[in-house]
Structures are given as structure tokens and as C-alpha cells.
Symmetry: C2
């Protein structure tokens, strides 16, 4: 299978970590998309992924998958190893709930700030900026960091005792926050300790 | 188990349809939340659901679940009957991908228009409006209707041959569009035919 992505970008990072957690990285061919050149918005790429985003997974049967949560569901079900999406109905629901919170209110919120209220990917790509919206979403991201810190006061990981897709999403969100200069408050000791623990995993530390 | 919701609202509708599809509606106690009075933002309710939104599911063991996709994963796994989230890794991924597109770019987009660019739930609740953002999201919703119409030119349902969570989300999105007066273009014949077919399901037609 093939993954169309940009190595250092936040959403591709989620899928690369998921693959590494499952020991499946070497089963994938990575194809670099020239996002800075607008390739993700080309007719050819949108035929693969109408979301005009990276990453996009191409399966052997010609199916194209986009949206990181969906791709992670595929990777989790297809390969052996640690469960990233949970095993029981409650586990699955809690993973999806926490993943969604980390995605909408941290990673996507930082993204909205970056694309709307900073220079983002530059004037050729950021043609519909709404600075007020971006600044609101920066506040959302900071509030969410505080919320996650509270969750981690009682749990080893975001969805409970086990590492999951939700941790991957939040970890990528914090990396994006660093890049976009959305500060992680120093007072959030639980979040910092969790982040160090996740960063040390072989899937990330290498 | 208990569901805190408001009967006629778009996201609660998703969970109510999922329950009906699984024949599990009578296993749930529904508790009305006074959203118009701001109850969803009260300290007491946010202790159940920090997203300050409906619906929220309370399980017998005291677990609270929010986010419709997560709640639907729970319902689908917990009860017998038709599969709403898919069975194989590919099926699961395609359902999540299409569900995410229908959620972010139709239902949530209509919601952004409603809450930001119309009177929404009134001045007491809509205190952070961004009209420009709302109007952008209205355009997103209309574009997504066209995209879904194209998908339905080749598929019986949004994720392929079988009815799924993605159809529930898009159906609720179109109902919300009607309420918010975001017109469904008459030219979208595939979308209209699919909508009539979904509306006739016993889970919806009653």
C-alpha cells in the first residue's frame, strides 16, 4: 500500500506513528505530495482524496482512504500488535471520544490558528483567512491542553490505562502547537509528563 | 443506560436513529437537557460532558460518553443487528472516512452557519458569533451536498452497498440544513433519492 503525505506535517505524523506502533512501517511506500506547490488541490490528487489533504492511503484494491481516524482504524484492524482503537465497545467509544476531543479542540484548533491567524503556508495557499476565527481556535487549543492535563491527573493515557489513537492525535497536536508557537502552559505537569512518556515510545523515539 | 439530549436536535437524532436501527431504543432512559436555558453549560452537566453538548450517554458503570461517533461505536458494538460501523478493517475505515466528511463538512458546517451567521439559539447563547466564518461554512455545506450526490451516483449508500453511521450523519445534516434554511440544490437527484430511501427506514419513519 502507498501513503501520499508530507513527512513532517501533523496529520501524516499520526499515521506514521500508528504504523510504527503496529510494526508495519516497512509495508508502506511513502509518496511525497508537494503541498507547498498546491499539488494536494490538483484535479489528479483530489480524484484520490476529495478532502484535498494529506495523508491519503492507497490500498492494493484501489481504495483510497483519507481522514486520519479512518486510516488509523484500517491500520489497527489490518495489522497485529497493540490495539490503538480499543477492543470492547466501551473501550472503542472512549478512544473515539477522546480522539475526537484531541482532534477537534487541539490539533484542528491549532491548525485553524496557524492557517487563519498566522502567515500559515503562505499567501498562495492561505487565500481565505479569518483571523478572528483563528484566534478563537488558539484559545480553544489552550483550554484543551488544560482539559487534557486534568484527564491525565487520573489516567495513564487519554483513554484510560492503555496507549491509544487518542494519545497519537494529542501528541501530534502538541507538536503542531510548538511549530505554530501556541505555548503549552508550564503549569500543566500531567500533560508534560505524559508527553515525555509518549515521546519515549519506540514508535516515536525511533 | 441514560441519554441526556434534546429530542429534535441534529446530533441527538443521530444517536436515536442508531438506537432504533439496533432495536435498542427501549433500553434507554432519555433525560431532557434545557439547552435553551443553558443547562448544557452548567458545572453539573459539564462534569458529565466537558464538551458542553448533547447528546451524552451515561452507562451503568458511571462512564459518560459524548461525541456521536463515539456513542454510535458503543451502540453498534453493544447491541445485535445491522452493522453501523462496518465489519472488516476496510469497511470500518470507509465508514469512518465518509462519516467524518458528512460530519465536518455537512452537519457541523450547517451548525457553524446556524450558530455564527443566523440568530441561532438566540443572543444569550450565541455570544461569540463570527458571521464571516458561518457564511464560509454554509458554502462548505452546499459543496458537500454536491460531493455526496456524486458518491451516490455509484453507491447505494455513502460507504458503499450497506447503510451505515455515515448515512445517519448525513441524513441528520440534511435535516439540520432544512431547519437552518440551507437549500439542498434540486439538481442533486442522487442525494434526493438516497434521502427518501433513508427516510423510509423503520428507524426513521417509525
Amino acid at each position: 500500500m502507498k501513503i501520499y503525505d508530507v513527512e513532517a506535517f501533523p496529520n501524516p505524523a499520526r499515521v506514521r506513528i500508528a504504523l510504527a506502533e503496529k510494526g508495519a512501517t516497512d509495508q508502506v511506500e511513502f509518496i511525497d505530495v508537494d503541498v507547498m506547490g498546491g499539488e494536494h488541490r490538483s484535479k489528479e490528487f483530489c480524484a484520490k482524496n476529495p478532502d484535498a489533504s494529506v495523508p491519503c492511503l492507497e490500498l492494493e484494491d484501489g481504495t483510497y482512504l483519507s481522514q486520519c481516524t479512518a486510516i488509523t482504524e484500517y491500520i489497527d484492524g489490518q495489522f497485529e500488535g497493540v490495539s490503538l482503537c480499543g477492543n470492547t465497545p466501551i473501550e472503542r467509544a472512549v478512544v473515539h471520544m477522546m480522539n475526537r476531543r484531541a482532534e477537534a479542540n487541539l490539533l484542528d484548533a491549532v491548525g485553524a490558528y496557524f492557517h487563519h491567524a498566522t502567515a500559515g503556508l503562505g499567501p498562495d495557499l492561505e487565500t481565505n483567512q479569518n483571523k478572528e476565527w483563528g484566534l478563537t481556535q488558539r484559545e480553544n487549543a489552550t483550554s484543551t491542553m488544560k482539559y487534557l492535563d486534568g484527564v491525565l491527573a487520573n489516567n495513564a493515557y487519554l483513554a484510560g490505562d492503555n496507549f491509544s489513537m487518542a494519545d497519537i492525535t494529542a501528541f501530534a497536536g502538541l507538536a503542531f502547537a510548538d511549530f505554530a508557537e501556541v505555548e503549552v502552559p508550564e503549569s500543566l505537569k500531567n500533560l508534560s509528563a505524559w508527553r515525555a512518556k509518549v515521546a519515549a515510545r519506540p514508535s516515536i523515539a525511533g
